[in-house]
Amino acid sequence: MRRLFSGWLISFAVQAGVVNGWMVSSAATQQLDDTLKNVNKTFSGSEAGWIMTSVKNSFYTYLVLLVTAIALVGCSTTPKPKGEAAFPPSNATSYDYPFDNSYLATVLGTPEKYRAELPKEIPLKKRKIKIFDRDVPEALWSDAELRYSYALQKKAAPLIFLIAGTGASYDGGKNTNMGKAFYEAGFHVVSISSPTHMNFIVSSSKSGVPGHVFEDAEDIYRVMEKIWGKLKKKIEVTDFYVTGYSLGGLNAAFVTYLDEKRQVFNFRKALLINPPVRLYSSISLLDRMLENIPGGVDNFPLFYNKLVEEIGRVYKRVDQLNLSEDFVYQAFNAVDPGNEELAALIGVSFRISSANMAFTSDLMTDAGYIKPKNVSFTKNTSPGEYDAVAHRLGFTDFFHVYFYPYHKELNPELTRAELIGQMSLGNIEDYLRSAEKIEVMHNQNDLILEPGDIDFFPRVFGDRAKIYPKGGHCGNMDYRDNVAHMVNVFRQ
């Protein structure tokens, strides 16, 4: 679910740039360090007022994210593969994940030297599969089939399904790294996009209206069965497992619940990583993060444009983008962006996810949420003003004006409170309490949880809930202790 500004927007910048031959070299940090100092000099004194300060800080954030994205795309160092060895936890006696601040952890993730050693490459196959025999709207032609990936062991092994977080793709950073860890630990790995991802909505959502925990679970289950149908001729599987992070963690819980009835996979174990407790609380929190934009949500485009402008000022002074991951963290230490800026960036990232999800769904169902009901899109149609509208609406707008009315029409008795209650782990609390197979990995300071909500996990799961003291929302997933724990859950 932590698909940040970087993960989406900036990788675009990088990619679009690289399309035209903009290559990033590997690097020494010193020069950029110097540049940064110059930049600091340039900024201090030239502008006044907290808005400029916050924009400046955001701009640093943005720059740093840009650098992160580039680093991730371009020049990751190559750890050596190490066979089926376990991932050793760090030697430190206490949990030494480096960021105490939950916003910082959520934005920055895990610095290289704290990460579990993962193989650079695994034999990953990217494939497409047809889930429904149906026509998709013309504008969504490229998403008629579901994209997914798998990596298979040569011998009999357990198979693990990975479910991505909100708006995230099967080949996003989180699923990719989890896939490497599980493959390295000897599992067959199948990676699936979130049911809120455009490609999933178009190809694999029965209703075209994502976000309902039970319906999403049915959709995911169908996808798993179809993929398994293709793979079972190729491999021998000893057991089935499932895991997911963020919204994917919530999905994994309901998929496991559904599996008790369907019994196709009989999952032996499931791990929920940083799931929301009540989905509605989490989406409300995320929507509200945009209020941290200087001047409010109205200024979203302005916020973006200012960021870009400020980046330009620094970028001009950087004769060479000498990038390394260390620089990212050094820069962050030097800059120390405020929580408001970080929250705004997190909010923007999720806003992009919600815009993508809502507009895709609207195109699928012709519900008249953003696009007029009787207007249709061709392959060449420009979204025009609908684009701007989509980015102005949040998850909660989607819930109240589109999602709830849709479900009320199917079930006229349904109240809003009931629907909100359904979208919650509490809804299947009794099952979760007794389901020994389900474990949880979470963080005390996860920012998608309301205060106190974290206590739900030890209360319901007891020893099966591993709560780390820090890590924000999914920020510590690549941290070596966490990877070791993840793998060990399924090794027991």
Binding site: W8, A16, N380, R392
Partner: protein, 256 residues
């Protein structure tokens, strides 16, 4: 063979011209005789009068229909030709050779950077690039080894040079195969390509098949180092994002 190669860009231009004039509407389709049924969230309701949309800023895109068509063409070209070829290239080439080839073409790219650094009268960039070229082309064995990795590297092209001297971008343009661009950068690309070709013809004695291998390897290397995949961003606004971010990126490139 040489003539065929020279005709290629001309044919493309012609194709683009034809497509641009035949046009492709970017308007949504409303059944005849019907009025638009207002959606739950109309633009009037949601957007304040003075609120500017994120993708609405002044990026000129009068040929959007044509651009979107080429965008789709590029996806198909990628899918059926380019990416499979890159896959095959990576499968048969040892990693060390791939790396060497990549360095080689980056060294060649430094020639373009040098020319444009001079044209921009940028002393630092010219000095750095000259150093890189001299060291890498000699000690670095024609660029296969990036010996001068400590010398700052920049990427300057003729599009940036034009921008440097105040030439505007012109309308946004999606080039066949090459992807997002604009009129200025598209022209720049042509100029850089021609200059490099002239330099190669005058400094080397390559057979046609050798030149062809060179060109193909260059294309494969470029695509292999480009992470972007068309229609895989999970966004129904992908075209708008690419347009915005490309334009932003180039603006920053010119300014620096």
């Amino acid at each position: 063979m040489t003539t065929a190669k020279n005709k290629f860009p001309a044919a493309l231009l012609l194709l683009m011209g034809v497509l641009a004039f035949t046009g492709c509407s970017t308007k949504p389709v409303l059944p005849e005789g019907e009025d638009v049924i207002p959606p739950d969230f109309s633009a009037e309701r949601v957007l304040g009068k003075d609120v500017e949309g994120l993708h609405e800023e002044a990026i000129s895109d009068p040929w959007e229909g044509f651009n979107r068509s080429i965008y789709r063409f590029n996806y198909r070209f990628d899918k059926y030709i380019f990416l499979p070829a890159v896959g095959a290239y990576q499968a048969v080439t040892p990693d060390i050779a791939e790396k060497g080839i990549h360095n080689f073409f980056r060294n060649i790219q430094d020639v373009t950077t040098l020319i444009n650094s001079i044209l921009q009268l940028s002393f630092d960039k010219t000095m750095h690039t000259t150093t890189r070229l001299m060291v890498n082309s000699t000690i670095g064995l024609l660029g296969f080894i990036n010996v001068a990795s400590d010398v700052p590297r920049s990427d300057e092209d003729f599009g940036q040079t034009l921008g440097h001297w105040g030439v505007g971008t012109g309308p946004f343009l999606v080039l066949p195969v090459m992807g997002p661009s604009n009129v200025r950068d598209g022209i720049g690309l042509g100029v850089d390509w021609y200059a490099l070709k002239e330099i190669r013809d005058r400094t080397t004695d390559l057979e046609t098949w050798q030149e062809l291998t060179w060109d193909i390897l260059k294309a494969l290397d470029l695509r292999a180092h480009t992470a972007f995949r068309y229609y895989e961003t999970g966004s129904p606004f992908e075209y708008e994002w690419v347009r915005l971010l490309y334009t932003t990126k180039r603006k920053l490139d010119v300014e620096r």
